[in-house]
């Protein structure tokens, strides 16, 4: 029983990481239908810039804030320099651009930050909380809290604010959105700033658990993408639930089946979802079957 609980807690810790990354995917996807493969690099930048600012002597909260703002600015720059000039290109080209941008960011990070692995202290110490016989680190609670907070924020943003609705409208029909007076370039800029900022926040929160180096982005992007697909691309609720489901699934697979194939569990479930529930668990209900 205590083992099961520990497997679940392990899964929730990992799942919160995936959920945070997956949430970052949803905004850009909602605004442009583009899956931004550079999302993982934003997570890396969040962690690495915090490390650099922290070792340079900045207090941790300030370092984290700097990292989030710088990464958000880089997200805007990416939109202005790489995505906007390619407007009108097919989605394939845009996806390739985001992959290219992610390789570029990784290459730049390697030059600027070096290849060492870094970390910084957990926010509330390393003494685990006990729940029955199982344990969880305080930092995991920060990550879980972060994921839930970002989710609520996004949910309010998309349903309660004019700006959020403008983003959704842009995604549904860019031309119609322009006709009703939505400033679509601004919506795109905002989306990239938000996505990058959320990615960086994820990096700040998870680095004390996972550590960071210039090349961690790809792994985050793949798992976060998987979580987002599982929940249904573009839906914050889907990203949150998808992340936690994926994490718990991995924890249980590692515990009860095989730790070698725990990563397989995620992808088998995704293939299954695609075969039987192509819109994801919480995707839009429109049936796109040919």
């Amino acid at each position: 029983m205590s083992e099961l609980l520990q497997f679940l807690l392990s899964g929730v810790t990992v799942g919160a990481v995936y959920a945070l990354v997956a949430l970052g995917f949803t905004i850009i996807y909602n605004a442009s239908d583009v899956v931004n493969f550079a999302q993982g690099e934003f997570v890396m930048l969040g962690g690495m810039i915090t490390v650099m600012a922290y070792t340079a002597g900045a207090p941790l909260p300030l370092a984290a804030l700097v990292a989030i703002l710088v990464t958000a600015a880089l997200g805007v720059a990416m939109n202005k320099l790489a995505i906007e000039p390619a407007r009108g290109a097919p989605v394939v080209s845009l996806v390739i651009i985001t992959i290219g941008a992610s390789i570029f960011i990784r290459g730049a990070a390697q030059l600027i930050f070096g290849k060492q692995i870094h970390s910084f202290p957990a926010f509330s110490g390393d003494d685990p909380f006990r729940i029955l016989e199982a344990t969880i680190l305080p930092q995991s609670l920060w990550v879980i809290g972060g994921a839930v907070a970002v989710f609520i924020g996004l949910w309010l943003f998309f349903t309660r604010t004019l700006l959020g609705r403008a983003v959704l409208a842009t995604s549904n029909n860019r031309l119609a959105a322009q006709l009703v007076g939505i400033n679509t370039p601004f919506v795109m800029t905002l989306s990239f700033a938000l996505s990058a900022g959320i990615g960086a926040l994820a990096g700040v929160l998870v680095t004390p658990i996972t550590m960071t180096s210039y090349d961690v982005g790809l792994a985050f992007a793949l798992k976060g993408f998987a979580a987002a697909m599982l929940g249904g691309m573009g839906n914050p609720k889907g990203a949150l639930v998808g992340g936690f489901v994926l994490g718990v699934l991995e924890g249980l697979t590692a515990g009860y089946i095989s730790s070698q194939y725990k990563d397989a569990a995620a992808f088998i479930v995704i293939l299954g979802v695609l075969f039987f529930l192509p819109q994801g668990l919480f995707g839009r209900k429109s049936t796109d079957r040919v």
């Binding site: 990992v14 344990t135 996972t210 924890g251 730790s259």
Partner: protein
């Protein structure tokens, strides 16, 4: 195709024939094994510069032609071909990983160019190939050293948690093979992906396995640091062994001195330079390398950079003794290396042994109070 021809011309211009001694290297200074390959490349570049400043070998300058194979065996093979056919080097150092080493090995053996690998697997030198040597201990020896220590402590039943990367997987397999020789039973055998965020599920499973007396974690990079932190989180009080893959000060820093307390692993003299006896034959070479590397790069020395140091030492020693830079002569001289003190151990090669180290070169280390200490 036009680009192709232009490149051809460029490359031909960039490397005119010279009278110096040309040594080639293919290392994984970027990519998934950059953690190992980066210090290896820095070490080689630093040593070449230093040697040339001191007048080179027998009055000739050393030229290092180093390529970054990205950890990709296919690229490593291409670069090895380039080193042999285009750059016409007299010897090759490299192969950060076992996969890249196997690719370079085939090319070097075909061309009859002496080759010193920096990777761990036993397959590299067993069976012995005429032109291939290697500097690190095999992962099998790491397992043996650890099991020896366990045997002394009366441990017979253990659990393993290994990384799924080449390093972890290979050592996992070797440990399982030699465990019976030490009457050790592996009751639990778990793995993790090198980029995983949490290993408490696997550790909980091992912890819950009846009869486990100690846990061993083969791996490199950040994985073992996370395992070590999770070990503390779960308050597991069994003896904990790591591999030589994390033998650097960086590991203690990442895992936290608190979590790493009591961790044992087989390491090299490099990590305990201050603790070596004044008459230890490795002391001078270890001190010199440590001082030079840390001054040059500002990062602490690690075992892997040490492998590159030793490969270069063996190579230059052989060329000096051979008095010639002919590949065949270098090869013969390497094979005749005897009692050469490196950072990893004291090398003595024979026609039957192209590793030249035994278990005594490994030192059992334990982390106490955030510092490496020697286990007596």
């Amino acid at each position: 195709m036009k680009t192709f021809l232009t490149t051809t011309a460029l490359v031909a211009l960039a490397f005119p024939a010279m009278a110096e001694i040309k040594i080639g290297a293919s290392l994984s200074s970027t990519g998934p094994a950059a953690f190992l390959g980066d210090p290896e490349l820095k070490t080689l570049e630093m040593l070449v510069e230093d040697l040339n400043a001191k007048g080179g070998i027998n009055g000739e300058e050393i030229v290092l032609v180093a390529y970054d194979d990205n950890g990709d065996p296919n690229k490593a093979r291409t670069f090895a071909t380039r080193l042999v056919e285009d750059d016409e080097v007299v010897a090759i150092i490299g192969g950060t990983t076992t996969g890249t080493t196997m690719s370079i090995l085939a090319v070097a053996e075909d061309a009859e160019i002496p080759f010193i690998s920096l990777a761990g697997a036993i397959d590299i030198i067993q069976p012995v190939k005429p032109f291939t040597f290697k500097t690190p201990h095999t992962d099998r020896m790491a397992c043996q050293k650890i099991f020896e220590d366990m045997q002394k402590a009366g441990i017979t039943k253990i659990g393993m948690i290994s990384g799924t990367d080449g390093f972890g997987a290979s050592m996992q397999a070797q440990c399982k093979e030699v465990a019976p020789d030490y009457a050790i039973e592996i009751l639990a055998d778990e793995t993790y992906d090198p980029k995983d965020a949490d290993m408490t599920a696997q550790l909980t499973k091992i912890k819950g396995t009846e009869g486990v007396q100690a846990i061993l974690n083969p791996g490199f990079g950040q994985g073992p640091s996370i395992v070590t932190r999770n070990y503390k989180q779960l308050a597991i009080d069994l003896p904990f062994y790591q591999s030589h893959g994390v033998a650097s000060d960086g590991f203690i820093e990442l895992a936290g001195a608190d979590a790493a307390e009591g961790v044992r692993l087989p390491g090299t003299a490099l990590l305990v330079a201050d603790l070596l006896a004044a008459d230890d034959p490795q002391k001078p070479v270890v001190d010199a390398y440590k001082a030079m590397f840390e001054e040059k790069t500002g990062t602490p020395v690690g075992t892997f950079g040490g492998y590159a140091h030793d490969a270069f030492l063996i190579m230059t020693d052989a060329i000096t003794r051979a008095g010639s830079a002919e590949p065949a002569a270098i090869r013969d001289a390497i094979e005749a290396t005897s009692g050469l003190a490196g950072t990893t151990g004291i090398y003595t090669f024979t026609p039957e042994d192209h590793l030249g180290l035994d278990l005594s070169a490994f030192r059992m280390l334990e982390i106490k109070g955030g510092k490496w200490t020697l286990v007596q």
